[in-house]
Amino acid sequence: MPATTDHEPATTEPREIDEAWIEQAITHYQALERRQRDLADQLARADVTIRSGDGLVEVVVGADGAFHDVRIADAALRTLSARDLSRTVLAACQQARTAADWARQKLSEQAFGVDPFGG
């Protein structure tokens, strides 16, 4: 259903909805629901660890975007000022967020193809 109707030109006459369309639409929804659950499971299991350039700060983020851990090496407390440490943690968090987005998209593509909606 969506593989064809989603890409019909806007100028075509509206398609009459029949029983086959409805059955396909319900089947399609159920398939997406299963894929959502599978993706949620995979995202919950996948972690991404980002380390700052000086190796003093590590941030662990799930592929679903949830932060799981922030690890600061003892050396950071001795060598960095509070302001520099804050900047380093913030930069690592931003990189971790980007990495999580990338990981989420890759997991989705590996599991369900480029367009799970039939495009």
Binding site: D6, P14, I17, H28, Y29, Q30, L32, A40, D115
Partner: protein, 242 residues
């Protein structure tokens, strides 16, 4: 029907139409609804399925056809037809009483009456009744369509800013990302909710439309050519039977 309506009867004014004022955001919302149903499917056992079976159109396509149809021209034609009925009644009155002043009798008078009575009936009764039935039917059709448009407006005022509408308006673009996948079933449910609400809003008016039928109207006698007449060639229109 003629007796229930005075000679100067006109269809009443149509209710004020607000659909044009909300058409753009309404059609935007319902086109998002159509797209979500097409792209993400329909949740099982959702009321939208019954509506889809009944209406056989997605709500956006249905709303677009209703929005594109203006009942005013039809209503104006109904008013014009009612005016013609008034004009016919006005000219028919002297025709109906035309033979009252005739000072003749016998076979000629009877023959004249036999020929004239159907003409007088057609002009004074049947034709105005048919015009009235046509005007009345046109007015009821226009009024029905106005009700359909009002139902669409009421749907939008009630649901246009609700949670389902917000879900569809704020979702990710259809770029097949993981975020879209996570959004998909929620969007499908929101779209199905809106579709069901739209069908519910339109159902009473559409059901009433299925009962719309032209009122009973007399059939006018067929025109006859002079060679079918019984001795007169005074006109092409000759009511009555051989």
């Amino acid at each position: 029907m003629t007796h229930d309506h005075p000679a100067d009867w006109r269809p009443g004014p149509l209710p004020t139409d607000h659909l044009a004022a909300v058409a753009e955001p309404l059609l935007d919302l319902l086109s998002r609804t159509d797209r979500a149903l097409q792209r993400y499917g329909v949740p099982p056992d959702h009321a939208a399925s019954a509506g889809l079976r009944e209406f056989r159109l997605l709500p956006g396509a249905l709303a677009a056809s209703i929005t594109a149809t203006d009942p005013v021209p039809l209503w104006q034609q109904a008013v014009a037809t009612a005016r013609r009925r008034s004009a016919v009644l006005a000219v028919a009155e002297p025709v109906r009483t035309d033979d009252a002043g005739l000072q003749w009798s016998g076979a000629g008078r009877r023959a004249y009456r036999a020929a004239w009575a159907p003409v007088a009936t057609a002009l004074g009764t049947d034709l105005p009744a048919q015009l009235l039935a046509t005007a009345d039917y046109g007015d009821r059709l226009a009024r029905w369509y106005a009700a359909l448009r009002s139902a669409l407006v009421r749907f939008f005022l009630r649901y246009g800013t609700g949670p389902a509408a917000v879900t569809l308006r704020t979702g990710p673009p259809g770029d097949a990302t993981a975020d879209e996948l996570r959004y998909a079933t929620g969007a499908a449910t929101a779209a199905a909710d809106l579709a069901a609400a739209c069908y519910d809003a339109l159902r009473p008016a559409l059901t009433a439309g299925r009962r719309l039928r032209p009122g009973p109207a007399p059939t006018l006698p067929a025109a006859r050519t002079p060679d079918h007449d019984t001795g007169t060639d005074s006109g092409a229109f000759h009511a009555g039977h051989d």
